[in-house]
Amino acid sequence: MIFSKELGAALRESLETDDRVVLIGEDIIDPYGGAFKVTRGLSTDFPERVRTTPISEGAIAGISAGLALAGMRPIAEVMFGDFITLCFDQVVNHITKYEAMYNGQATCPVVFRVPSGGHRGYGPTHSQSLEKHFLGVPHLKVVAASLFHDPREAFRGFLEQNTPVLYIEHKLLYPQNLRLPEGGMVGDLMAVKHGSTIGLSAVPRNDCTATVLAYGYQAMLAAEVVERLAVEEEIFVELLVPAQLSPMDWTPVEESVRATGSLVTVEEGTGGWSWGTEIAAVMSEKAFGRLRRPISVVASERTVIPSSRAREAGMLVGTPQIETAILEAAK
């Protein structure tokens, strides 16, 4: 159950079950099958509906917009999430506008897949987690892949609804095994579903002393920390891993925080106007007077991502930063 393979299978299922689906992106056809090999094999079986493009991110987005307006279901791969910058006009001024500005007379359900994130030494322009700039774009859903969520379910959901989606795939998840909840467990952690948010903890929520909110690759790291702290230090916290980052489903967060009285958010993007700040703002209001301590927002340093592995590790959020923050929050 390697994530990249399961994701490829989800795309295959989409192509098979829904003939409106079109995959579009750079270098996505066989034998190459995409920079991260997610689409390998698909163009051979669906040559018309898996289309490799020139290096034209703006047009990839724009053509996807047209496909979607015409009733198709485009799924666009942006080779590195860093280059979603070139789709920004299409996302903000075209794709997410049409349904509302035409008063419901059209829909434009484009799905963007953006391989994102660092920790691989790819340097300043091939390592970013730029999703924070897309959170809060009206009428856009931002969703993040994680090892705890089945990508097939995600894509089934995307095809069933009409809102454009930005789907964040952290590059370091590709080679990992999925860790889907089975029998209420993920490894040694109890796993509880609250809508599409997965709660992971070693003990029942009421015995947890903090809530940790994380997504993507950071959720994988956080789960390891949570497990280790439980086993080695008898520190118990609940990790919540939402599938959807924006708009947020607040209910599971509220319920957990009501029990724990302490919240920490974790993301790999740079700090400042990030995912976690909205959570901190909203939860500071929703749980006003009921928090034991201020909400802690863990994000990466506010600068470029160095190529040097050593400097990158110092700058990007990773296990050490997560652990420090959880230890503090659990106090």
Binding site: V22, E48, R49, R51, T53, P54, S56, G58, A59, A61, G62, I63, S64, A65, G66, L67, A68, L69, A70, G71, M72, P74, D89, Q90, N93, H94, K97, Y98, E99, A100, M101, Y102, N103, G104, Q105, A106, H139, K141, T163, P247
Partner: protein, 315 residues
């Protein structure tokens, strides 16, 4: 997240008032003239209403360019798709005849074609859309063409752009892909010699035509303002796109007779005056009897008066 439309989206029945849109039986010359007259008077009425303060926002009239809209759209069939830009009224009216929906839209009323949300630049009907952000509509139109191609239909996608829009990189990204993929796309480039305050010589290096041909896309170029000629040229172009399934360009050198949006015209008066001589309605009138165009003018006027009265009375 759900967007609740303020009124039930309906297949807008193209309430083609024969007084503004003519009938299939009407001789072609008359019908084409009628539609141009309709667009002209709609826009002039609009500008009047703006001065009166009844409207809000902004507007871009296509006065002087009506022949492009009418000539091209004469050949657009059910299932084809048009994408237009900020200067979209003529295209919209030629396609739908829906003067009331558009007028109400620009007045910001619920009954407007987009419930008053889109306004002058963002309108929508089955087979018709516009967006006031330049450039990005071109790949969108190509995507619609790709959908047509994937469905194996012989439908075509038509996009109208202005000369200034050749400044946007999105156009070239799309030309490349449309040519590589053989998309059934007709680009109608209305070169009206100006982009807002900027003349083409400050905006456009080299040759407009060559910009398309460099991608292997054939270009048909004309300087005519005669709707009959445009009708014929556009007929050929759309037929060619329909049968070959390949992208083509109709490059029309024309002229905008009004200001860019409102009260923002610094062009030399003589330059504009000269173009009034060859404006499409004047040319079209030469083909038809005076009594006929006078009758048509009166019918259009009556129909528009009703539209304005109805629109004004809307909540």
């Amino acid at each position: 997240m759900t967007i609740a439309p303020t009124r039930i989206p309906r297949q807008r029945e193209l309430q083609a008032d024969p007084r503004t849109m003519g009938t299939p039986e009407e001789p072609r010359d008359l019908r084409l003239y009628r539609r141009m007259r309709f667009i002209r008077r709609f826009e002039e009425t609009l500008l009047g209403l703006f001065d009166e303060g009844v409207l809000n926002g902004t507007t871009h009239a296509c006065i002087g360019q009506e022949a492009d809209a009418v000539g091209v759209i004469e050949h657009v069939e059910e299932g084809d798709h048009i994408f237009s830009n900020h200067r979209c009224h003529g295209h919209y009216l030629a396609r739908t005849g829906d003067a009331l929906g558009l007028m109400a839209e620009i007045m910001g009323k619920e009954a407007g074609v987009c419930g008053g949300i889109g306004g002058s630049q963002h309108v929508c009907a089955p087979g018709f859309m516009s967006n006031g952000v330049q450039g990005g509509i071109v790949p969108t139109a190509a995507g619609i063409a790709l959908a047509m191609k994937l469905r194996g239909s012989d439908r075509v996608s038509v996009v109208f752009i202005g000369d200034g829009t050749l400044g946007e990189g999105a156009v070239y990204e799309t030309l490349n892909i449309a040519a590589l993929w053989d998309l059934p796309l007709l680009i109608v480039l209305e070169d009206n010699e100006w982009a807002q305050s900027t003349p083409t010589e400050l905006n456009t290096a080299g040759s407009m035509r060559a910009r398309f041909e460099a991608f292997g896309i054939p270009v048909t170029e004309t300087t005519t303002t005669d709707v009959a000629e445009l009708d014929a040229l556009a007929g050929n172009e759309i037929a060619a796109v329909r049968t070959t399934g390949k992208t083509r360009v109709l490059l029309v050198h024309t002229y905008r007779l009004c200001h860019h949006s409102k009260s923002d015209d610094h062009r030399p008066e003589e330059e504009v005056a000269l173009r009034w001589v060859t404006e499409p309605l004047a040319i079209a009138r030469q083909r038809i009897a005076e009594s006929q165009w006078q009758r048509i003018d009166a019918e259009v006027e009556a129909a528009l008066a009703e539209v304005v009265a109805t629109a004004r009375a809307l909540p």
